[in-house]
Amino acid sequence: MSGDEAPPSAGDAPLTTGDDDRPPRDAGPAHDLGTVLLRAAAVRAEAARRILGEPLEALLRSIVDATAALFEAEAASIALFDPETNRLVFRIAAGDQGQGVVGQAIPIDQGVAGYVFSSGQAIALSDVAHDPRFAGQVAARTGYVPRSLLAVPLVDGDHTIGVLEVLDKRDAATFSLRDIELAGVFAGQAAVAINATRIERDTRSLLAAVLVELAGEALDRQSAEAAAEAVAAAATEDLDRGDDTRLWALAERVARLRRADPEQLELLAELLDVLVRRTEAGDWPRSGRRGLGRRAAASPVIDA
């Protein structure tokens, strides 16, 4: 676990020399290749994140536009799960009438979107306006009461990441069973694309995944998330302050969590190398928000 075992893929990460005879637990963090790579990756990813645009919004836009066109619907919208607030946040909508919903956040145990997200079941409703109480709740939230509504979960593998809604099919009063099936397939494709974008964007997902991989059963996912979050958050702050002290202190804790054998170290180096090369190539998508740390819970590895 010494610096001279570094694979060529370590690139120009700022490796430092140190006393290789000291046991890893006592070694200063700067002596640890993994720590150095983690820091380099976190800092560069955040730098790229701040410079580049936001491709997730563009992807979401294309999905809702395609959905509205495919179903010949008045409106379509996407709500994504926000683990920080434990709510579904409507991120984007197609169609003039659907815009009122954008920015709305709803609890996952309430409403049609909450039900579809929590239960994994696709449902369609019509005659919504016939029920004045239900219609009133919807209108209070969005300013628009659809005649009919189709909601399907956005599922990638075994993770549900949000809900896709289609409102008011133009040529029919209700959605058919075929519509539900089609929407399910379409939502599956969309979820894969959304998740791919998020994973690329989200350094913390990668850091947490690496930590879990390294520590095996010694580190549960929640601890890995927390550790990765700490490293990433520190990287963000250090960019602003030009001061590495806190980052190193946190990175050292991460290093202590490790039970790395050479094979695992190889995996870490490879993963981080990909990360570093990607950020250097300049195609690293940027988060909509500042601060890596705040996105930790968006990691797909914690969806239970």
Partner: protein
């Protein structure tokens, strides 16, 4: 004569002098709906609705909500707590309960509200709700939800077996979204998808699992939140139709096992040849 002690325990019910216990039903070819549930109204049967809650005062429930609980995460662990107010946070559970009640008005309904506010615990909360239903006297459990988490495969498999051995029939809505879906894909569960015939008594048997039954699920007028009504489509609404009919079967044939109920359902399903809209009927 072989002594009982010489037999493996599993063989005991099948040996001479014991086989009388196996006589239960006429051959499958002689089953019809009149025999299966004619005259039954669900009396004596408890049906659990594991869902978003059931609105106690909704007219579609007919005052048949006997008990209401909710599952919450307390310090990370799912706990079943009394929910005496009988509320539905969405409307969906009331819709399902209303469908069961319309088919089996004599049955007692029990609501287990499992839509917790935390995503982290949704699989375990759902499992805890199902476990509670199995332990608290339900003969039929309607599950219009499922878990896609691989981590829940084993817990739900265990619960499905527990239910089967306790004579509790699990009726689960099939999931439209590709990928894992527990417990709806387990063999002991009655997995249901929607058909497009606007009749509550029309249902089909599909000999190609995992989704073995089709029931009404297109444009179903259902009860909804705050005493309301709505028209709904989805497998969610097909499952309670089968749950309701299974309840009638259990009511008429007390002690019927899940596989017997499944067999009776298969034998009494509509002939798929020549079913037109509205051609069902009991």
């Amino acid at each position: 004569m072989t002594s009982e002690l010489d037999l493996p325990a599993w063989s005991e019910p099948f040996v001479a002098g014991r086989r009388g216990g196996l006589v239960r039903l006429p051959p499958i070819g002689q089953l019809d709906r009149a025999w299966a549930w004619g005259g039954a109204d669900g009396s004596g049967i408890r049906v659990a609705i594991v869902d978003s809650g059931v609105e106690r005062a909704h007219p579609a429930i007919g005052g048949r909500l006997a008990e209401s609980v909710r599952v919450e995460l307390v310090e990370g662990e799912p706990r079943v707590l009394p929910d005496p107010d009988g509320i539905d946070v969405v409307g969906h559970g009331t819709a399902c309960a209303g469908i069961v009640h319309a088919l089996a008005p004599g049955a007692e309904l029990v609501s287990i509200r499992v839509l917790g506010p935390e995503n982290r615990g949704k699989g375990p909360v759902f499992a805890a709700g199902l476990a509670w239903a199995i332990e608290h006297g339900a003969s039929v459990v309607n599950l219009s939800l499922s878990s896609k988490s691989d981590a829940m495969y084993a817990p739900f498999h265990e619960l499905a077996d527990e239910a089967y051995f306790a004579n509790v029939l699990l009726v689960s809505a099939a999931n439209n979204v590709p990928g894992p879906s527990y417990p709806s894909l387990f063999s002991s569960v009655v997995s249901v998808a929607a058909h497009d015939v606007p009749d509550a008594w029309t249902f089909f048997y599909n000999p190609r699992p995992p989704v073995e039954f089709g029931a009404r699920g297109l444009d179903v007028p259902v009860a909804w939140k705050d005493g309301g009504r709505i028209v709904a489509t989805g497998n969610s609404f097909a499952a309670p139709h089968i749950a309701g009919i299974a309840t009638l079967i259990c009511s008429k044939h007390p002690g019927a096992t899940p596989f017997e109920v499944k067999t009776i359902l298969a034998a009494t399903a509509n002939d798929p040849r020549g079913v037109d809209a509205g051609a069902g009927g009991r």
